[in-house]
């Protein structure tokens, strides 16, 4: 996956969690949580969806890497390079 594709994947997962999520004005370097009004339960869904779709096991200590769209890309791109 390219970094654009990883970005799209994350947004698609978030849209799946919350179909009213508003991506307009979304800043890639700011926490997704605050911008989209997500809580820790929603974040668990991102982790579980990545596992379901791409068999990725993300350990709990790595969750902070999913804080912003940019950090998601940095963290996930190498893991999904063959996806």
């Amino acid at each position: 996956m390219t970094s654009e594709e990883v970005k799209d994947l994350i947004l698609e997962i978030i849209e799946d969690i919350d179909d009213e999520a508003d991506f307009e004005n979304l800043k890639a370097d700011a926490p997704l949580r605050d911008q989209l009004d997500l809580d820790s339960m929603d974040f668990l869904d991102i982790v579980m969806e990545l596992r379901k779709r791409h068999q990725l096991q993300i350990p709990e200590e790595d969750y902070p890497n999913l804080a912003t769209l940019d950090s998601c890309v940095t963290y996930l791109e190498p893991l999904l390079k063959d996806a």
Binding site: D18, E20, D39, M41, D42, D45, M48
Partner: protein, 460 residues
């Protein structure tokens, strides 16, 4: 057969736990002893009419846009859509203590503020302090029992107002006699007074059917009429259940929603020493209102107390008629007026007494009838006369509730001992539902979801 997750009990917490897990791993299995789903919130048929059990109102109302509200978080976690449900908010409800001012409240918190301001003007500043105090508490942090009653009385400085505010919260979710745990109080205060009450437009059966279809769409499986008689375990790991018919179902992980002591019994573990459990009776009256009958149309639920001192405890007599809850399921916003209206009345009841006469069918039925008559007299003093307009009535006692829900002592709010984190000393067996400590339909469903999130998902 072997399943990744076995859920014991098809009540609302079990269904929610199973849906949550099945979203990511199908092949989840729920086993339910009864022939119907729903547990404490289920239904039965008499004369081709469906009657609900349990449900008076669902607490924790929130409008669809409020993302962080418990109701909407629950829906997101289960991938349920608000637009697939029609929710009807309460009109207004009332706490009425004989010989005292009554308190009205609705889903608009300002009503309760105004009521306290006009009826307990000396307490309004203290009530604001109570709100600040409630805000300062994180009710989800595990902590030992703290008396809510003492603390609220201390803040409000008024025993009557304390009791009146506690009355609905106790009736809708306290497994403790004459008190509540502080965390439980905060959760219930938010659920009932700050968020509010509603019900689905259809029946509880429609709601359960929707959840079942949804669960099925993720690949989840359900077996009804299936009773576990033993949870199979080695040291602190469970590996399956033995069913009543001798069949064994193996599993990787297990969630039990049947109650703490109920679960321990199936593990052949010692149960905690008996503590008083609270039983209830409920009577459903079907009433054909005519001109002579003036039941309120604007009240959804009335919590009443007729004695000098509000008492919420296991009564010495069969039924404690001195206090109770009166519910008008037709008086929610957006529900069409029907030809026959329903009134439900709930009282505290003594399980042991009812159990002692349950085998003498005639005596038991006669007592049910007498109790129901006494309830009518009490209710008529509060809502006006309706006795001559009753076309059907039916009562449940704690014995009925025990028979259909398998809750020890028919105690709908379960054990006074709660296990907040669901951890009962096993690696792969966790407790959800009533005895995990979240109550009400939204609470018990969130209980199922949070136990799966915390303990199950990562290991599936």
């Amino acid at each position: 057969m072997k399943v990744p997750l076995l859920v014991i009990g098809g009540g609302l917490s079990g269904l929610a736990a199973a849906v949550r897990a099945a979203r990511f791993v199908p092949e989840v299995l729920i086993i339910e002893k009864h022939s119907r789903l729903g547990g404490l919130n289920s239904y039965f048929y008499r004369n081709k009419t469906l009657y609900e059990t349990g449900l008076h109102a669902i607490t924790n109302y929130a409008p669809p846009g409020e993302k962080s509200a418990p109701l909407n978080r629950l829906f997101r976690q289960l991938k349920l859509k608000r637009k697939d449900f029609s929710f009807c908010q309460q009109q207004q409800s009332e706490v009425t203590f004989l010989g005292c001012e009554s308190l009205l409240f609705s889903n608009d918190f300002n009503l309760l503020l105004e009521q306290i301001n006009s009826k307990f003007p000396q307490c309004i500043d203290n009530f604001q302090k109570l709100l600040l105090f409630i805000n300062s508490i994180n009710p989800f942090l595990p902590s030992p029992f703290r008396s809510a009653k003492r603390k609220i009385n201390e803040i409000l400085g008024d025993k009557l107002l304390t009791d009146m505010l506690l009355c609905p919260l106790m009736f809708y979710g306290s497994s403790h006699e004459n008190d509540m745990d502080m965390n439980q109080f905060v959760i219930m205060f938010q659920a009932i007074y700050l968020q509010g009450m509603f019900r689905p437009l259809g029946t509880i059966k429609n709601f359960l059917d929707h959840l079942h279809r949804h669960y099925h769409s993720f690949g989840g499986k359900l077996r009804k009429n299936t009773e576990a008689i033993k949870l199979l375990h080695k040291n602190n790991t469970v590996y399956g259940v033995e069913l009543k018919n001798g069949e064994i179902i193996e599993c990787e992980q297990m969630v039990s929603t049947i109650g703490l002591d109920e679960t321990k019994k199936l593990l052949s573990k010692k149960v905690s020493p008996a503590q008083p459990r609270l039983g209830f009776t409920e009577t459903i009256y079907e009433i054909k209102p005519e001109k002579t009958c003036s039941l309120p149309r604007d009240k959804t639920i009335i919590f009443y107390n007729n004695s000098n001192e509000f008492s919420y405890k296991n009564p010495d007599e069969f039924v404690d008629h001195s206090s109770g809850v009166i519910c008008f399921p037709g008086n929610f916003q957006g529900i069409e007026r029907k030809e026959v209206v329903e009134v439900r009345a709930t009282h505290l009841a003594n399980y042991t007494r009812w159990k002692s006469i349950a085998s003498c069918r005639d005596e038991y039925l006669a007592l049910k009838r007498r109790t129901s008559r006494k309830t009518v007299t009490n209710l008529e003093n509060i809502v006006g006369s309706f006795n001559s307009n009753i076309v059907y009535e039916n009562s449940f006692t704690p014995v009925t509730i025990e028979r259909y829900t398998a809750k020890i002592g028919g105690a709908i709010y379960g054990s006074p001992v709660k296990v907040k984190d669901g951890d009962i000393g096993f690696k792969n067996l966790f407790l959800a539902g009533t005895d995990q400590g979240f109550l009400g339909i939204v609470g018990s469903m969130l209980s199922g979801v949070s136990i799966v999130n915390q303990h199950i998902l990562a290991k599936l």
